[in-house]
């Protein structure tokens, strides 16, 4: 059966369409692999919070009045290829807990539009994946359902917050997965697990049915074995959705990438990548410099650019994201869904104790930080200023894209770090997103592709472009991927 394991999602879909592989055979193959991991307890990677019994869980129709969708799961271009879905996407009738105890056992009455786009195109729901609670974290250690381990080295984290999705794809427990990225939650775990992760332009994928963290930043995207799979998945995710007022009609179709050369492409390397706070590991720097050379051999030119406000992005982000989170998470009050603390004295007591018992440490920290930043007397100093920094960061990118076509950085300054290494010091964990947060604040697309190994652990290359430049990003990534020849199967279990 190793033949099946070696197929990418796009290859599997083609094999099914040609009648060389049965959709049911493919589903059963991955269902068994996912179950084995879920049932291995301490010996597994803990990628999943739920695994489907069979492909028939997939219908996931939300019914009239909700998001538009098509019928007949399994039929369509995705031909029944199984899909792993980050826990925070609502999936009708299937546990959707966002890694939190406060949503333990929650089974939503509808399905997220991004998931419906994929199941409508023929994907089948394989499993829900582990994540940092409410997507707050960079290591998947903040899950109420235990940490996920990195398949390259089980003493290390897979990154986060989409760590379960990234680890599952890297380990070959799922052909591909959907995740979300608020400040780096697709790109950083993709980098640390040696796979491809794409955060699309803000608004290109509907957020309807994603359990919200920071609404002006959250964006769903693919985590896949290769660039071609990322393009195929994204193609079926983008589009205007009447259930999300911030969603946009993507201006063109997402095409399968095909570029072999990078002739004439101008790649910018921000000087600020060297700034204090981002101590790039020597092995990461070596891989990054090697891929720059390779890009030049393929015909690209490398230019130094300036993003003067990028070093302030993390500070602005840690005002804006917690502020939005404190507002979004106000809905978890023990009234309409999720857990409720028993034996409350009165309504207020019920609210405060439910939230005390239901939220984990990092979520409480962010709620407190956000509430503080929005509270009377501090609003202008924190939230108001952070919104202005956001404007400056967007302007920096606009200026840079007058000079270059795409911007390249390491995705993460370091390879996968040890479990527990950064949990004691919040800011050291927050620094994991140093290179990914600026693009999130500007709402522009960015992809992480594997670009080598450092001491046997994957290094990620981040490529960012202007809004709606996904096709160009995918093409450049594809050319580099072919030239790099990264051995993406090494972590499969």
């Amino acid at each position: 059966m190793t033949g099946i394991l070696s197929l990418s999602a796009a290859q599997a879909a083609t094999a099914i369409e040609k009648g060389e592989l049965g959709a049911e055979e493919l589903f059963t193959f991955y269902r068994e692999r996912a179950r084995a991991d879920a049932e291995a307890n301490e010996d597994g990677l803990n990628c999943f919070t739920w695994v489907a019994a069979d492909a028939s869980t997939t219908p996931l129709q939300s019914g009239p009045g909700w998001s538009d969708s098509t019928d007949a799961p399994g039929s369509g271009p995705l031909a029944g290829v199984p899909l792993a879905v980050k826990d925070l996407f609502c999936t009708k009738g299937v546990p959707s807990q966002s890694g939190s105890r406060i949503l333990e056992g929650y089974r939503p009455p509808y399905t997220a539009s991004a998931v419906q786009g994929l199941t409508g195109a023929g994907a089948t729901l394989l499993a829900k994946t582990n994540q940092d609670e409410f997507a707050m974290g960079s290591s998947t250690e903040n899950s109420a359902y235990g940490p996920t381990l990195n398949p390259w080295d089980r003493t290390r984290v897979p990154g986060g917050s989409s760590g379960g999705s990234a680890a599952a794809v890297a380990a070959g427990l799922a052909p591909w997965a959907i995740g979300t990225d608020t400040g780096g939650s697709i790109r950083q775990p993709a980098a640390l697990c040696g796979i491809v992760g794409l955060k699309p332009t803000y608004g290109s994928v509907s957020r309807f049915g994603m359990i919200a963290f920071a609404s002006s930043l959250d964006q769903a995207g693919p985590l896949t074995r290769d660039v071609t799979d990322a393009a195929l998945m994204l193609r079926h995710m983008v589009g205007r959705d009447r259930c999300d007022a911030t969603s946009l009609q993507f201006p063109h179709e997402i095409e399968p990438p095909s570029a072999e050369r990078l002739d004439g492409l101008r790649l910018g390397v921000p000087r600020e990548a060297e700034a204090a706070g981002a101590q790039i590991e020597p092995g990461v720097r070596e891989s990054f410099e090697r891929v720059l050379k390779l890009a030049e051999e393929l015909g690209a030119s490398i230019e130094e650019i300036r993003l003067p406000h990028a070093p302030h992005a993390l500070s602005a982000y840690y005002v804006l994201a917690p502020a939005e989170a404190s507002s979004n998470l106000a809905r978890f009050d023990g009234v309409r869904y999720g857990m409720r603390a028993p034996d409350a004295d009165d309504l207020l007591d019920m609210y405060t104790r439910t939230r005390h018992d239901g939220f984990g440490k990092e979520v409480k920290r962010r709620i407190m930080l956000g509430t503080y930043a929005l509270s009377s007397g501090y609003y202008d100093a924190y939230y108001g200023r952070a919104q202005r920094v956001r404007t400056k960061i967007s302007e920096d990118f606009k200026t840079a894209f007058e000079q270059v076509d795409l911007i390249v950085t390491p995705t993460s300054a370091n390879v996968a770090f040890g479990l527990g290494e950064k949990t004691a010091n919040p800011w050291s964990m927050y620094l994991s997103d140093y290179f990914t947060v600026p693009m999130s604040l500007a709402g522009i697309p960015a992809i992480s592709i594997p670009c080598g190994l450092s001491d046997g652990l994957p290094v990620g290359l981040q490529i960012a472009g202007p809004a709606f430049s996904e096709n160009r990003l995918l093409d450049a990534s594809f050319a580099l991927e072919q030239a790099l020849g990264f051995e993406e199967g090494a972590a499969r279990v």
Partner: protein, 101 residues
């Protein structure tokens, strides 16, 4: 701005957030928030007076984007479905403890 959050301020913010903190959570929270705010405070060094705030990147990306849909009634979740996940229901509504015990 020097951000130092003391115990009283932590308790005040926790009240605003409708979040109970155990006695042993208060002191670490004060220290962790102070440490994070210390890093965040670096944005106070920037000259930003003439810079407009960004609340949304989409408006910028597509100025003609129709933000508002027509206000037409559509079917919504049936009541029993909406209530199905609630911890307590009574007479077709969400049951909660009395605001004043």
């Amino acid at each position: 701005m020097l951000a130092v959050i003391d115990r009283d301020e932590v308790l005040h913010v926790a009240r605003l957030a409708r979040l109970q903190l155990s006695e042993d959570e208060v002191e670490p929270m004060a220290q962790e928030l102070s440490a994070v705010l210390d890093h965040i405070a670096k944005i106070s060094e920037l000259e930003l007076d003439d810079v407009p705030p960004t609340s949304h990147v989409v408006a910028d990306a597509m100025p003609t984007h129709p933000a508002l849909r027509a206000d037409e009634p559509r079917p919504s979740l049936p009541r029993e479905v909406a209530l199905a996940q609630a911890p307590a229901v009574d007479q077709g509504g969400f049951l909660v403890p009395s605001p004043q015990a």
